[in-house]
């Protein structure tokens, strides 16, 4: 293959050097399309490069991702990154997938070193994934019918549990709450709720 010939920024050469998987995934991307209904959608786009991406997830009753699909109008690295990330989160729970998607280094070992102008591509894919999971979490929280109000749907942490942790540990920040009971370690859609609880509990004390 003479992939590098007409290529100005050298991206394909560096893709070849770093990972033949990336090249393969660009030419034959996996998980392109739309997940079956009901689906949860996350979007992201870059003002810098104009790339646009949509991730759609189908999630079963045990919060497991059974379908992860994407559509993208963006560069080769974006397409390969999206393929890879969909592959990685398929079969994971929303909590595991969101926690993975929050990591800046999530795809680094597979993608290899990217030229600086492409370093934002994997981030764009992670952003769309997390936002799809947030959509799911907001719905799951609304529909939750348990005895105790559910705050962190990713890791099933209730309001009561968070209140207890704050009281007993004298917690002041979201990060401390996450460290104590895992609430907010996933998609972070519950951040504003945790903030409210922190404020309320600390005001009462």
């Amino acid at each position: 293959m003479h992939l590098s010939r007409a290529w100005k920024s050298g991206i394909i050469t560096s893709m070849q050097r770093n990972s033949s998987l990336t090249v393969e995934l660009f030419f034959n991307p996996k998980h392109v399309g739309e997940a079956t209904e009901p689906r949860f959608i996350g979007r992201s786009s870059s003002f810098q490069c104009g790339a646009t991406l949509r991730v759609s997830l189908h999630i079963d009753e045990s919060a497991q991702i059974t379908e992860a699909k994407f559509k993208a109008a963006g560069c080769s690295v974006l397409v390969a990154s999206a393929s890879l990330l969909m592959d990685q989160v398929l079969g994971k729970t929303t909590g595991e997938a969101a926690a993975f998607g929050q990591q800046a280094e999530a795809l680094k070992d597979k993608l290899g070193a990217l030229p600086v102008e492409r370093s934002g591509c994997p981030a764009l894919v992670r952003e769309a994934l997390v936002s799809a999971i947030q959509e799911y979490s907001d719905m799951a929280r609304d529909e939750w019918e348990g005895d105790e109000a559910l705050i962190c749907t990713c890791f099933g942490v209730s309001e009561r549990r968070i209140e207890n942790e704050i009281e007993s540990g004298g917690l002041r920040t979201i990060m401390e709450v996450t460290k104590a009971c895992n609430a907010g370690a996933g998609c972070r859609s519950c951040y504003s709720l945790i903030e409210d609880i922190l404020e309320e509990v600390n005001r009462e004390q």
């Binding site: 992939l3 007409a6 991307p29 109008a73 560069c75």
Partner: protein, 394 residues
């Protein structure tokens, strides 16, 4: 490989290679030397000068000065004029120039020159009334390209020249890099003062260009050193390259298949536009106002880089107006100046044909392209827009 990127560079023609070969080994010597070896080199350079002059219709071969590339010629023309005329710092140019002129003029604007940028309309044409309005008695230089490298749109060099002559004392510089060898030229009967050309766009090697300087137009040397090129451009002449440029000009002057190339271009353009729903032409649909070898087509809502890479894998070389060279990726300034919507500029592909392209190659390209675009359309998150577009066409 099927090479449809002839506006980027061209293959060195076998005839050119053959003409150059002796000067890379058998024949040597410095053309500035008085001995016979040197004089033989000098004769070769002068022969090449005549060949270049003949192709562009210069009145005298002495009006041709060899340079290292088109960018040098452009920089010399504009920079040299300003050096000669430091008080005439008003420059007029267009928004769609090649970087060699555009970035130079941006730089000049930063260091105190006044630059007027002429706009183009959505099909890439200039409004000559804008030129009339902006020309002043103190305008120093007007620099306009003859053919746009991305879209192939031709600017009316003759009309522009007349307007410049009638309304100012400005020097008229033309960046002719993309036009030379593709359309007929007759500079002696024009109002052009300075004209830049580049060898590698017409099957000469990379690393050689020329600047036409009309007799009587004064331009200080851009490179100061020895007295080469009659003191106008120092540096030992790159004889093999210059011989190559001469041979390439000769080859272009006697080329008889311009119509065949144009027919292939037309076929490619027509069939892409009719077969692919999200394809739209960039640049004037009037083909008489475009280079005969170029077509620039946007595939809306998909990414040009991806089209390029898929075509490359299938053995076809093209280029795209959208590429991230640096931290910010921007669509081409030419397409932006033409107000091409962002989602179309992102998916723009330039096909530029040349003398070695065959009908089979065009047929093959036409065969594989719809499938590649189809695959990317399927991947595009702009499904609604694409559906609407297809509906409109039904």
């Amino acid at each position: 490989m099927i090479y449809l990127d002839n506006n980027a560079t061209t293959r060195v023609a076998p005839e050119v290679f053959e003409a150059m070969q002796p000067y890379l080994n058998e024949v040597y010597g410095n053309p500035s030397s008085a001995h016979s070896l040197g004089q033989e080199m000098k004769a070769a350079v002068e022969h090449a000068r005549e060949q270049v002059a003949a192709l562009i219709g210069a009145a005298d071969p002495g009006e041709i000065v060899f340079t290292s590339c088109g960018s040098e010629s452009d920089n010399w023309a504009i920079g040299g004029f300003l050096e000669q005329n430091p008080t005439r710092r008003h420059i007029i140019t267009t928004r769609v120039e090649h970087e060699a002129v555009r970035n130079l003029c941006e730089h000049l604007a930063e260091i105190g020159c006044e630059v007027t940028w002429l706009d183009v309309n959505e099909i890439g044409e200039l409004n000559l009334d804008d030129l009339r309005r902006t020309l002043r008695r103190d305008t120093g230089i007007v620099s306009v390209m003859l053919a746009n490298n991305e879209t192939g749109v031709l600017f009316p060099m003759e009309e522009i020249g007349k307007i410049v002559r009638e309304n100012s004392d400005a020097v008229f510089h033309v960046d002719g890099v993309q036009a030379v060898g593709k359309i007929p030229l007759d500079l002696k009967n024009s109002s052009v003062d300075l004209f830049a050309l580049s060898g590698h766009k017409l099957h000469a090697p990379q690393g050689v260009g020329a600047l036409y300087i009309r007799s009587g137009v004064k331009l200080p040397p851009f490179i100061i050193g020895g007295g080469q090129e009659r003191g106008r451009r120092a540096g030992t002449s790159a004889v093999p390259n210059i011989v190559g440029l001469g041979a390439a000009c000769e080859l272009a002057r006697t080329f008889e298949e311009h119509e065949r190339i144009e027919r292939l271009r037309n076929k490619l353009e027509d069939e892409i536009l009719s077969a692919i729903p999200n394809a739209r032409l960039n640049g004037t649909p009037d083909r008489s106002q475009r280079l005969p070898n170029t077509t620039n087509i946007s595939f809306e809502y998909v990414e040009g880089e991806n089209i390029l890479l898929h075509l490359d894998k299938a053995g076809v070389c093209v280029s795209t107006g959208s590429a991230c060279h640096s931290a910010t990726k921007q669509s081409s300034p030419t397409l932006r100046a033409m107000n091409v919507p962002y989602t179309a500029a992102q998916g723009s592909i330039r096909f530029s044909l040349g003398r070695y392209n065959t009908e089979e190659e065009i047929d093959y390209t036409l065969k594989i392209l719809p499938e590649i675009i189809g695959k990317l359309v399927e991947m595009s998150p702009y499904d609604k827009e694409l559906r609407a577009l297809t509906m409109r066409q039904l």
